[in-house]
Each structure stands twice: as C-alpha cells, then as structure tokens.
Amino acid sequence: MATATTVEPTRRDFLYIATGAVAAVGAAAAVWPLINSMSPDASTLALASTELDISAIPEGQIVTIKWRGKPVFVRHRTAKEIADSEAVNIATLPDPQADSARVQKPQWLIVVGVCTHLGCIPIGHAGEYDGWFCPCHGSVYDTSGRIRSGPAPRNLEVPAYSFLTDAKVKIG
C-alpha cells in the first residue's frame, strides 16, 4: 500500500482540531461550576449587614461587633485621640491616608477588626500609639486604625456604613 504524505493540511486535520477545540471548551465549562461552588453561597451573602445602637458607648471605649463572621471595632474616640490622629504627617505613613478620609464623624471610628497582615484580631488601647496592637506578628495601628509599624501592609479596612440616626449605625 502506498502512503501519500500531504504537506497541505487536509479537511480531516481541520475536523480533528475543531473537534478537539470544542471538547476543550466543553471541559473548561464543566470545571467552572466545580470551582464556583466553592465561593460564598447565597445564605452567606445574605448576612451582609448589621445594625448597632451606639448611644450606649461611652467616650474612650471600643465595642466589637460581628459582621460577616468577623469583628468590627466601633471606637468612640476622645478629643485627644482625634487630635493625635489628625496631627500625623501622612507622608510618613506606610499606607498614607488622612484621618478625615477614614471617618464620617470624627468621634466615631469604625474599622474591620482584622489585621491586614494575616488576619488576627488586634488588641485595642495597646501599642505605641494607643490604637491597636496585633499580638500575632507585632503590627502596630494608631487611633485612626492606620498601620504604623510591623508586617501588615495596609490600614485597618473601613467597612461601608451609614448613620441611620444619631444613635444608630448600619454596617454593610
């Protein structure tokens, strides 16, 4: 039997490649639901907001509430804490941000209580700036929740929140 070697791609080559390409797309499409099923489900997403009565929080105190399974710090700042936070030259900060950009009302600082390094909960009224200190790897935050020293790269996150009334705040 003679073997004919064609240099030109044949119609059969085209069909092989086209069929293979469709199979690859199909396989990728079948994998997606498996991957996506691991993302937060509908019930987890539904728990996305929390309300809190802040009228009972005295000046100088930090209250920790749970939002989306993690702690949120609501800090009623003293005049000195506000002044300290505002006085900082932001050019010297690892993650420069003015205090005014982190609060809606200066006496209320609301931040997610999760260290931006590896997720521990920092301890309030501790550390060099009397803001927070993370016991895990030693990150130090100031009274605006901004990172000042240690391995954490970013400031404590400010969640989306709004004051429903003077006494009530909604987080999320």
């Binding site: 691991m38 399974g69 993690k70």
Partner: protein, 426 residues
C-alpha cells in the same frame, strides 16, 4: 534493576493468574528479589517507617471519621465525645495526632539522609522531586487535619495560613474569600478542609507508588554513594535482608511512637486547642504545629507581607532544585569533608529556625531568625554550587563490595581502594 532470583510459579492457580495479571511476579521482583546494596545503614529504614506511618494515619483516620462531625457548631464536641465516650476513642485520636508528628519527624530524617548521602543526584532527580511533592502534600494534609477539632489554634492557624494567599497581588483577596467560602474562616471552610483532609492521603499513596517505582528503576543509593556494578557482589536480596532490617527500624520507631501516645500525648500539642474556636478572640500567642515552625520563623522574620510569604514558600520549593544546585560529582557526604561541616550547619539552622518559630516575634528573636534564614538559603544557593568547584574530596571506593570489605578489614580491598586516586575537583 534486575532481581537476584527469578519467580518461577509451580502452583497451578499462580500460573493461571500470572498469565492473566502478573501481579505476584511483580511483587516478588519488587519486594523479595529486589537487589539492595549491602552497605545500607539504619538511616535507610526510614522509607519503610514512613510507609508504615502513612498506613497508620489512614487506618486511624478512617475510624475517627466514623465518630467525627465536620460542622462548626458540632466539631469540637464530637472530638470531646471521641475522647470521653467512644470506646478506645482517646487512643485512636492520640495515635492519629501523634502519628502526624511521627510522620513528619521521620520524613525530616529521611530528607536529611537524602541530602547527606547525595541521594538526589543523577539519576535520582525525579525520585527526589516526587519526594518533595509528597512532603508538600503531607504539609497540606497536616495543616487541614489540625483545623478539624475546631479549637482556638485550629481556627486561628487556619486564619493565618489561608491569609497567606491574600498576599498575592491583585487577586489575593478574592482567592482568600474563595478558599474560605465566606468572608472569614467558618463552617464552609471546615467542611471543605475535612473533604480534602480525607482525600489528600490517598493522593500521597499514589505519589508514594510513583516514588517507589522511580526508586526501583534507579536502585537505591547507599552510604558510599557508588552505583551498584555487580549485583551479586554489591547487593543482597530485599527479603530477608531489607525486610528484617526495616522491621527492626519500625519496631524501635514504634517504641518512640507509643511513648508519645501513652505517656505524653499532649506534649506536642497546644493547650489553647482545648478551647473551642472563638472568631472574636485571637489567642495571645499563635503557633503552628512544631513541624511547620522553621518555615513560620522565616515568614515572620521578614517585615514585608508579600516578601515573607514568598520566602516561606521558596524555603520549601528550593528543595526541588537541589539536584542542580549541588555541583559536586561525589555523591556521598562520607567523602566530602567540607560539605559535612556545612551539612551540620544547615541542620542546626533548621532546628534553630524551628525554635525561633515558637518564640514571640520580638527583638532578638527576629534578628536571629533573619541570620538563620540567610544560613538556610545560603546552603542551597552559595555553598552547594561552590563546593563542587573547590572542595577536595577523599578517595571514593571503586565499588560497594570494596567499601564493605575495606570496613571489615579484608586485605584485598585495601589495594583496590588505594587504586582510585584522590580527586581534586568534586
């Protein structure tokens, strides 16, 4: 490698089976007739010890699963129930938790053995890399297993380790949320970790099969690091020689294992893990299991998040490149006097990092971890490449038989080993 004896079935059923599935001759060739270098020492029994530990973990794990509940509000209680109510539950749990420690202890010895005797060198590169893959799978399995009792250390260990992925630029935070299945470590995380903790050991079994296959293609290395030349002079059959020696090794290892299970079952654990997980309170001092401490120390010694995570993973990944980083042509550390010194410095840096990983991340401890981290990486990227060029090695015996005879003082061998001149270049 060809065996020292052949498998000749006489039994009719065996002949019938052999013609259809030659599994018995395969087993005979691999575990009975397989030629084992004569000069192996007890450091070579750790492969057998590891195989034993892998099976022990799977057996205790499957039985524990029959009593454990992977749900965040019930998990802690179900483990306490195993400890108090389930018949022999305490023993199963202690055997499994200490078994993980024993498994890691053995694998570290197995790996240091490989480094000392140059077992990763050609032609065993693939064998070595498969070992590194086993090591990675073991770490993933150990980490996820520790999360299951859902104590404070389980929870916060899981939080810190999953947050390592948030260091990845741009997509890091999304990946972390995907890993968690939520906005923090929670029930979905526990569930998937349990599924994977059950799955991964079977993947380890599969990679161990490849590892042993590769071993049986190249043959075992040996303390003198010379290749087998004549299997009749250099080797003995696996059974009874290696089978018996491995059994002795396993028996002694079991004494250590049982001492932990029955006398100090919580010595390697952390008291905080007997406190149920509390997502609103971080323990004052988070430490991972002891076998992760050296890497944890490297992570913490670097003040930048991304760089710390990269250094930590690099410390493990660099093992896979060992066959190409070590440029010396002499395989065994026995004939490399300078290498030996650096080898022990390397071992000390590993142990030192382990100690520092358990200390608080402050002042002198961080500085010491930085220095030891440099020593650790220096061994791989500076010492090993350069030693091959400059080290003056001592004479390597011509064959395994010569090495053995030289040690037992036979006259004929002295001449033979003198014949191989000292090497100036590695």
């Amino acid at each position: 490698m060809h065996g020292l004896s052949t498998f000749e079935p006489k039994n009719g059923f065996v002949k019938w089976l052999e013609a259809r599935l030659p599994i018995l001759s395969f087993a005979h060739g691999s575990f009975v007739a397989f030629p084992t270098p004569k000069n192996l020492n007890y450091w070579w029994t750790f492969g057998g010890i590891l195989s034993f530990m892998l099976i022990a973990q799977i057996v205790t794990g499957v039985v524990l699963t029959m009593h454990y509940t992977p749900e965040s509000t019930l998990a802690f209680g179900s483990v306490e129930k195993i400890m108090r109510d389930v018949n022999w539950g305490w023993m199963l749990r202690y055997a499994h938790s200490n078994g993980a420690s024993m498994f890691f202890f053995a694998v570290y010895i197995h790996m240091f053995r490989g480094i000392y005797y140059g077992s990763y060198k050609s032609p065993r590169e693939v064998l070595w890399i498969l070992g590194v893959i086993i090591f990675l799978l073991m770490m993933a399995t150990g980490f996820m297993g520790y999360v299951l009792p859902w104590g404070q250390m389980s929870f916060w260990g899981a939080t810190v380790i999953t947050n390592l992925f948030s260091a990845i630029p741009l997509v890091g935070d999304d990946i972390t949320v995907w890993l968690w299945g939520g906005f923090s470590v929670d029930n979905p995380t526990l569930n998937r970790f349990f599924a994977l903790h059950y799955l991964l050991p079977f993947m380890i079994v599969a990679v161990v099969a490849l590892h042993v296959w590769a071993l049986h293609v190249c043959g075992q290395n040996n303390p003198d690091g010379v290749e087998v030349q004549d299997i009749h002079k250099d080797c003995v059959p696996f059974t009874p020689h290696a089978t018996m020696k491995d059994s002795v090794g396993i028996a002694f290892f079991l004494i250590l294992y049982c001492w932990f299970i029955f006398y100090i079952p919580n010595y390697l654990g952390d008291a905080d893990n007997y406190i149920p997980a509390n997502p609103m309170k971080t323990p004052a001092h988070i430490v991972p299991e002891w076998y992760f401490l050296p890497y944890y120390a490297i992570l913490r010694s670097i003040p930048n998040k991304l760089a710390g995570v990269i250094a930590m993973f690099a410390a493990i990944a660099i093992l896979a490149f060992l066959p190409w980083l070590d440029t010396s042509k002499v395989r065994s550390g026995k004939y490399r006097p300078i290498f030996r010194i650096f080898f022990w410095i390397f071992v000390a840096s590993g142990i030192g990092l382990g100690y520092l990983g358990a200390m608080p991340p402050e002042g002198g401890y961080v500085l010491a971890a930085r220095i030891l981290g440099v020593v650790y990486f220096g061994f791989f990227v500076v010492v090993l490449p350069l030693l091959g060029l400059f080290e003056k090695t001592t004479p390597v015996p011509a064959s395994i038989a010569d090495a053995v005879l030289a040690r037992t003082g036979s006259a004929s061998s002295v001449a033979a080993s003198a014949a191989s001149a000292p090497q100036t270049k590695g």
